[in-house]
Amino acid sequence: MEVKCLDEVEELIQILYSPNPPSVYKLAQDRLQTLQKSNEGWQLAQALISSPNTNTKFFAALTLIVKLNKESANLTEDDAKELLQNVVGWLLTSMNDGTANFVLKKLCSALVTHFIYFSQLWPKCLRQLIYCLDIGRSMPVEALDEALQADAVIDSLDARKMWMAIQFATALVEEVGKTEMNSEKYMPVHQRLAGNAADVVSLLQRGLARAEDGCSEIALNCYQAWILYAQRASVDALTAPLRGLVEPAMRCFTVQELFQETAALFTDVLQNYSSFFTDSHYVALFSLIDSPWAVELYNKLRETPDDHDAMSFGLLLLAFGDAKVHQLMTSTEEAPQGLLSRLAGLTAANGHLVGEDNIFVPALEFWCTFVETVVDSSFTDQESSQTWRPYADQHIQNVVINSLRKIRWPPAEVFAEWDSSERAGFGDARKDVADLLQSVFTLNGVRLVSFFVDFFLQSLQSLAWAEAEAAEFCLGALADCVTEAPEFDLEMGRVFSAPFFELLSGFHGQIPLRLRQTSLSLIERYGEFFERHSERLPDALNLLFAAVGDPVLGGPSARSISTLCSSCRAILTGEAQAFITQYKTIRGSQVLDSIAEERIIHAIASIIQAIPQENIRLSTFNELYQIIREDIIRAQQLKHKPALLNLGDPNYARGLESWNNTQPAPEAEEIALQISLRALRCLSNMAKGLQDTKEPSVNLDDEEQPAQVLGPLYLMQTDIFNMMYSVRLNFDRSGEVVEAICNIFRAGFSETVPGPFVFPAEMVTKFFTEQLCWCPSFGTLLSTACSFVGSLYRGPKTNVPSQLSLVAYWAVNSLWILAGYADTEISQNSIVLLDKITGRYPELVFKLPTELLENFFRFTLKVLSEVEPLPKGAAADFWSGLVSLKPDDSSLQATLDNAMGTLGPPLAQSLIDNIGGKAARSELDKLSGLLKKLVMHQPRAQAWLEAALFDQSFPDSQVTPEQKTVFLKKIMSLRGSRLTNQVVREFWLACRGSNFTYAS
């Protein structure tokens, strides 16, 4: 290596550690990597290792690792031995000349990398290194005396050498642990690693005892790494000696500086590998955590839960409890019960949740496990044997009471000081409490509900708002658990009574916002209760409506109104008129949040749907509809006469919702568009609210005529349709308008009973077919047309073919016009649409103009050969359907046979290209489906597939002609059975090569 080159390298390394633009770093990095990988890399490392600069030394060590990983196969045994001796020598020199620890660690990693590739040369690697450390120079591997007593040598190591040996032992297990344990290549390395266990134990035994010179801390880390490796390896020869170190490690608890590391080690092993400890270890651990010293730490934790030592102790306590939960639960003796009491006490530490008290959430996790264990035992054990149960119940009750106190919202001024993560953490902790309560409910049922109801009513009486809110939250958490049994209704009836409604209606003056929020949410969560107790429903809904205008409570209130009105619609029909009036009043005075408004519209429409008399139903609906209709007309007038804009009027200001105050005010046309969009979304919600909740009756008479919709209903449908159409025309560049209209159509498609949004098929077809393929959101239109076709199939059949012909023509003609410019959504949805029609009415498809149809077939074959997954999947489904068609009509069959004669070979070609490696792995099942159908239904499939397999365009040459022949034979003999998928997958892998077997 020339000096010039070395200087260059050192300069490049300095660039990496100096402030420079990213491009300079990249250039330096690339150049250094090139040098590392060059033939002179070994000499480069050797030359740089003696540099006084630590960064250069680090780079030298790194180069050794890179070279070993890339070129170890090129080294002879003698080269490898010489390299080993050199690296050990460099390590010793660096250790003695005070080189920084991070370089020494990197050199250790280089030695471990050497072990991974040449473990047969120095199977007792740790002993070899200890020996060299002891004598202070690097020795050949042959010089190691087999009979050497490692203990004696380790005893003589000073602190620095001890540190070095432990560091190597840690790197050894961590690096070897990263290699595949079961692979043929690395299995011997793992076996030889295990052969070092006795030396590791000797080393750590002494290391753990040397707290005074700092060796114990790294010995604990090393011990943890070896335990976790032993867990993966599951080798007794490794686990048994490591168990011998538990007691020396436990003694480190008494060393103040080592407490956190020791606690972390034991917590980790208890949590992840509890079977590592023997019974005697558990006895010793229990004595330790039950000692006066531990009680002192526990008390400290309860008082100052943010103290690091105390927190580590708390986690250790919980991990021990978790590992021994069953034994603790079933024991009625004083000591285990004392421990459980202390664990319950962890849910009552000082301070607010998360920000100050970090032990509450982990403690709650333990108690969730405890409760689940009690639940399991209560189902499996005999009741007479459950003498422990009263004790367990008492602990659980204490935890519930502690949790109830903990989840109280802090005073507003405290909450305001919390950062976003503390706030989110508080919310998450409340959810964890909800989880615990749901588990406890399994044990205590109505007693638990009753407890919270009492607590709530007491809090209400004493005007303790935070407590009342916490109790309501807990009751809300149990909403999904309680049944409709009378005892639960009795309890909830005590809540939903006069004091509750007085509270929310402002009887007690201003109450905290959170309490109002939780109260409204409680009404929503117990919707089923109100269904059973309709006499309380008006009170609840009046409260909710009163909160709709509130900027914070409006959203949740509207959601509750929507849920309650939808589920209790039959009871509320008499209130529809009053609700419409209330809605009109609210929107006349303010601009409602659009989502809240849509929910209210949905709620009122749900009630209207349940009105039994058709004339009243229609007239009530019309009243609600007229409000929205006026919005649409107003928006159109505004668009044409911008001077009409008056933002002081809520009817115009509702178009400003999406406007950000920091931007200039939008144009009148934009406001008009927003008003129209809100109106369309309201119509969509109206349509959803009007959907029948009963199961539709199945019409077995295929020939039934569609129900004739006449009179006021037809006029209403026409008016709604015209309104939508006019919005579309007025705002013809808006994709959102198209999407909103599609949502309105969709809501009607699922209905079987005539209604304002169940438009006649002709009307829907007219809308679709008049839209040009360049219109915005054309893909959404096609997707909606697919739903339309599905709805036609569910209804009377008479009118279906004529509508399908029009829709099919519109779709294929659009593709023709787009001529290859169809986006993914259009491609996929147009194919799905034609697939749906071909499946039921193939004759309609084959009656389409020939050039359009040929263009469509070519398009699907092209899509099948491309990479876009969604259109490709749709094309595979389309062809699966087409190749398996068996029409009764002989002329149609002849047409189909004729078409397949032309289309079969390119289809087979595309399919085989995909299976031959072109397709993504995830597409194989779908393509196998098509292949199965092709083989089953097309007599000429074998010839087509064979031609495709041996065609020059076949994507890969990794498979031999024999393999292709075997594949074809297998596919044909399987005759479309499920095993085809496996055969296809194997062939795809064979074509792609062994690089792709990693995920098989």
Partner: protein, 114 residues
């Protein structure tokens, strides 16, 4: 540290995220940007991260009610077949109905780790 040594289920590889990740890894291997060993490591990492994230980070809840049709516990795997299921999302946002649902659940800790 536990995460270095603990093995995780590869169940989630069959979900849409896992399938897409495998496709992406295939593409990178085809383009010779990575080798299969790295792809294996990425998938192992994926198994770990999904399991840990679902356990530690996901706080969303849903509840469901339905009629339990069949259940079994075999080789540490619970299987439930539930009919007429209603899923209720958090905060009562919306509900989802299903005629039949199959739930397969494995212990968070594998038997070799207990």
């Amino acid at each position: 540290m536990a995460t270095n040594s603990t093995s995780f289920y590869d169940l989630y590889r069959h979900g849409s995220l896992g399938v897409s990740l495998t496709d992406a890894l295939d593409d990178l291997i085809s383009a010779e940007r990575i080798d299969p060993q790295l792809a294996i490591k990425v998938l192992n990492q994926f198994d770990r991260i999904v399991a840990e994230s679902l356990q530690e980070k996901v706080k969303s809840r849903l509840t469901f009610k339905g009629s339990l049709d069949t259940y079994r516990f075999c080789d540490e795997v619970w299987t439930f077949l539930i009919k007429n299921v209603t899923f209720k999302m958090e905060n009562g946002a919306h509900t989802v109905q299903a005629d039949k649902v199959k739930i397969v659940s494995c212990s968070a800790k594998r038997t070799d780790e207990k």
